[in-house]
């Protein structure tokens, strides 16, 4: 794998997914960055915007094993991780793996399950393994959780705890498409597009390629000035008076990893502040918590992040 192959594969993946998803280039780019960086993604958007579709399209074009779990209030941790079942024939317990044993897990409407079920994913997301009945089982590589949630409904939902939110590499948001994009979507459906049938999408990469891309991205150079810029940005979230909770050092690492992938996808072997800034919003938005006073004033996390990005000077040598 070299940088040219990386760039081509990345562009091929992106183009193939966009055959099914119209007008969401940022979402597709973010998803691919997370896949290459080996991080989990939380997608937030209103119903009907194509959250599930984009994940299914990703699984199709990336050739990754795919399973889906619909999170419901009565979902139990064992329904996700799997459980040991008594086998009459052998007279012993046999472990039946849950849907988590896959490469790409879609946790649909993750906030509809109670905290204990959500927490069942903590170990899997962080350590890529599952422990049940004192036995630890490794998950296949690469392992990615893509969770979706609806920002509108609050009844019957369980907000994700901060510890779990921090484990998501990126939080991507989906907005309603503009009129021309929506018209294009409707035209496609009129022409016979079936969102359930994605077999026309070609698998343009394999899991081994994605792992190789991830390893190549790790070799992308990070200048000290860029590192300082990342630390400065994250540090500013901790010193912001409107934020109750700032981003953790894990956010700095996430920003670094994703910026490396963005740089590699652009055909560069070094990271620029532009790459960092491009990933700052999806990396930070779920890792900071608004102060209650700010929340009452109607200030949003996005606004605070924008202000922080505007206040942080970009490293520049010309002086």
């Amino acid at each position: 794998m070299n940088s040219t192959v990386f760039q081509e594969t990345f562009q091929r993946l992106s183009a193939e997914i966009e055959k099914a998803i119209v007008g969401q280039p940022d979402l597709v780019h973010g998803l691919l960055v997370a896949v290459v960086a080996g991080g989990h993604v939380l997608i937030e958007g209103a119903p009907g915007l194509g959250k599930t579709l984009v994940v299914r399209a990703l699984s199709q074009v990336s050739g990754l094993g795919f399973k889906r779990v619909q999170f419901t209030p009565d979902l139990m941790p064992g329904d996700v991780t799997g459980s040991s079942i008594y086998d009459r024939q052998t007279g012993g317990f046999t472990f039946v793996p849950g849907p988590v044993f896959t490469q790409l897990l879609l946790a649909d409407e993750i906030n509809r399950a109670p905290a204990k079920t959500q927490s069942a994913l903590l170990e899997a997301m962080q350590e890529h393994q599952v422990t049940t009945d004192a036995t630890t089982r490794a998950l296949p590589r690469p392992f990615l959780v893509i969770a979706t949630q609806n920002p509108i409904e609050s009844q019957g939902t369980y907000p994700l705890p901060e510890a779990q939110l921090d484990r998501f590499l990126l939080k991507l948001t989906m907005q309603n498409p503009p009129a021309d994009v929506e018209a294009e979507i409707v035209k496609r459906h009129a022409a016979g597009f079936d969102p359930q049938e994605l077999s026309h999408l070609e698998a343009v990469a394999k899991d081994a390629e994605l792992i190789a891309m991830g390893k190549l991205a790790l070799r992308v150079r990070i200048d000290d000035a860029v590192t300082r810029y990342i630390v400065d940005l994250v540090g500013r979230t901790r010193n912001d008076r409107q934020l109750e909770l700032g981003a953790s050092p894990r956010a700095s690492i996430s920003m670094l990893r994703t910026a490396q992938v963005v740089a590699a996808a652009a055909g560069r072997d070094f990271v620029t502040p532009d790459d960092v800034k491009a990933m700052a919003r999806p990396v930070l938005r779920h890792r900071v918590l608004l102060h209650p006073d700010a929340e009452l004033q109607g200030i949003t996390v996005e606004e605070r992040i924008e202000d922080i990005l505007r206040s942080a000077p970009v490293p520049r040598v010309a002086s």
């Binding site: 150079r221 206040s311 040598v317 010309a318």
Partner: protein
């Protein structure tokens, strides 16, 4: 006799006169200039008539096509009717109006005084508040942060694009290639910012500038420069001369392209300002618009002077100059402008000076002279022979100019004369009429005007510049003198205290940091005391005594060492008998009165205070 001598002089001058421009036919040019749709100075002149226009009234009445101007002259020069007797009641109202005006003036003054005093008082209060705020350590820290926070926008980006480009070229020539590439990029960014394609800010990345660049054609070279600069700055690449040269070329090309685009953008405006769709009406009888058109028709390039006479560039020897047409009756020359004008002429400039000699620069020594005739005769070369052409002026006028040779006469006296001043030439006319719009409405006036221009223009000169009234004024040396000249000196003086007041009122608030509000959360002890007071008010004094004693026990137990009982420790700390301590901290107070409860709580509080006092260590 005098006319014959003049003819000889003119013939000699014309023989030594500079090579003529490709002359067409001045009279034809004159007819063409007067036939334009916008020519209105004779039919519907600009009203009210200016003093210069009124000077031309006599002439206007003799020109058949100028009835409109003649009528306007009659109306302007007619005696004003006296006020009718019926208007006497207005006179009685005048004192009343005066008194009312004075009252309104005083109300206005009072309002202004109040408007000034209110900000003063508020400013003082704000100052006092901010002084208190200074004592808060948090505010001080925030001020320090603001002071020490460096303006991260690189200083290079605050300079002019050309200046940064110069620095970049210097850096490249001295071998500082990395710096040169960064500066080339900075120059390009600054140039784009100056022209509004991007907006520089310290938080924006190079990639954002590329994406934000409004001109798609400039985006690609900018992206290439950005990549080259980033590769060195963040990619650790060693800068090489080829790369520096390539980036430099792109930066220069980008700056050139931007300059070209600016000129292109300005062209429509220039066209409109010239003779585009918004063509201005030629309605000033004393204007020089018809002369300009005739001169253009004769092959001259005619334009305004485009700057003050006081800053005219002095030509070097042999340098090509232009003919400056200056109507002294309209362009009032300052002392600086007069001396500069004469220096310019001496260095090779050519001047056609119109108007009364009294308004010419004093150093020329020209004076007006009486004459009885309004007919001005000039010898005109029609290409084959010289012949006299006579035009009429509005008022008789002539001049006396020592050392000058007459080139036009009026009633036997010199009307126009020519003098050589070192390397330059001045042709002066006693009146501007032959060059004015009305003057050029006469038959033969075109020939006369162009014959006089021929006498004045420099060798091979084909450029005529016409001075505007404001060109005679010396430009101000600084913004303050400009304001002062505009009559705003008093306003400036008033502005100084007003600015001070404004600062006291508003600026001081921004200059000082505000203290963070006190946290509203109560301390635990304060909470307990407040709760106790509440119990007392609610007549639950038994409960209050119990709760307060409990609180005291908890506080003291936290301080007491592990190996001592609470009563022993407190008795030792507070120098109170152990039994008394036990009574106070383990109250059995059934049926205690309100007063008794208050005394008990006071005693417990006193015990707490005494136990908290530092104890002198005694050696056992």
């Amino acid at each position: 006799m005098r006319t014959a001598r003049l003819a000889a002089v003119v013939a000699a001058l014309l023989l030594t006169a500079p090579a003529s421009v490709a002359r067409a036919d001045p009279e034809a040019s004159r007819q063409a200039a007067l036939s334009g749709d916008a020519v209105a100075f004779c039919s519907t002149p600009k009203l009210p008539l200016s003093a210069e226009s009124l000077e031309l009234c006599h002439l206007a009445k003799e020109i058949p096509a100028c009835e409109g101007l003649a009528k306007a002259c009659d109306e302007a020069l007619a005696p004003k009717p006296k006020r009718s007797a019926g208007a006497g009641w207005l006179d009685t109202l005048a004192p009343l109006g005066y008194a009312l005006g004075r009252a309104l003036l005083w109300i206005f003054v009072a309002g202004v005084a109040a408007a000034l005093l209110v900000p003063i008082v508020r400013g003082i209060l704000a100052w006092a508040r901010s002084r208190r705020a200074r004592d808060f350590p948090e505010a001080r820290a925030r001020q320090a942060r603001v002071r020490t926070d460096p303006a991260a926008l690189a200083p290079a980006l605050r300079r002019e694009a050309r200046e940064i480009l110069g620095r970049a070229e210097t850096a490249e020539s001295t071998g500082a290639l990395g710096e040169a590439i960064a500066l080339y990029l900075a120059a390009a960014l600054r140039a784009l910012d100056e022209r509004g394609h991007i907006a520089l800010a310290r938080h924006r990345t190079n990639g954002e500038y590329v994406r934000a660049c409004q001109d798609a054609a400039l985006r690609r070279p900018l992206a290439e420069m950005t990549l080259a600069a980033d590769a060195i700055e963040f990619g650790g690449r060693a800068p090489d001369p080829d790369r520096a040269r390539a980036v430099g070329d792109r930066a220069r090309a980008l700056l050139r392209a931007l300059s070209f685009l600016t000129v292109l953008a300005a062209l429509p405006g220039l066209a409109c300002a010239g003779r585009g769709g918004t063509k201005r009406a030629v309605d000033d009888p004393a204007g020089l618009e018809v002369f300009r058109e005739i001169a253009r028709g004769e092959g001259y390039a005619v334009q305004g002077l485009g700057g003050s006479i006081a800053t005219l560039p002095i030509p070097k020897e042999g340098e090509k100059t232009f003919l400056l047409v200056l109507d002294a009756s309209r362009v009032q020359l300052s002392d600086d402008a007069s001396s500069r004008l004469l220096r310019w002429v001496g260095a090779g400039g050519s001047l056609l000076l119109l108007g009364e000699p009294a308004r010419w620069p004093k150093a020329l020594g020209a004076k007006p002279r009486a004459t009885g005739s309004r007919d001005v005769t000039v010898q005109v070369d029609d290409g084959e022979v010289f012949h006299d052409v006579t035009v009429r002026v509005s008022q008789p006028g002539a001049l006396t100019w020592p050392g000058a040779e007459a080139i036009a006469v009026a009633g036997g006296e010199p009307f126009a004369a020519r003098v050589a001043l070192d390397r330059g030439v001045i042709v002066g006319l006693a009146r501007p009429d032959p060059f004015t719009n009305v003057g050029l409405s006469q038959e033969g006036a075109g020939d006369v005007a162009m014959a006089l221009v021929e006498q004045a223009r420099p060798v091979d000169g084909t450029e005529i510049r016409v001075a505007r009234p404001e060109d005679g004024v010396t430009p101000p040396g600084n913004p303050l003198s400009a304001l002062s000249r505009a009559g705003l000196s008093v306003g400036l003086v008033h502005a100084v205290p007003f600015l001070a007041l404004l600062f006291l009122h508003a600026g001081i608030r921004h200059a000082r940091a505000r203290p963070a509000p006190e946290p509203t959360r109560r301390a635990f002890v304060e909470h307990v005391r407040a709760t106790g007071a509440f119990y007392m008010k609610a007549r639950a004094h038994e409960h209050a005594v119990h709760e307060y004693a409990k609180h005291a026990r908890e506080v003291l137990r936290a301080r007491a060492p592990r190996d001592a009982t609470l009563a022993q420790y407190v008795a030792w700390r507070a120098n109170v008998p152990e039994r008394e301590v036990t009574r106070l901290l383990e109250p059995r107070t059934p049926g205690i009165t309100r007063k008794g409860a208050a005394a008990h709580i006071r005693a417990v509080r006193d015990l707490l205070d005494r136990a908290a006092e530092p104890k002198e260590r005694t050696r056992a």
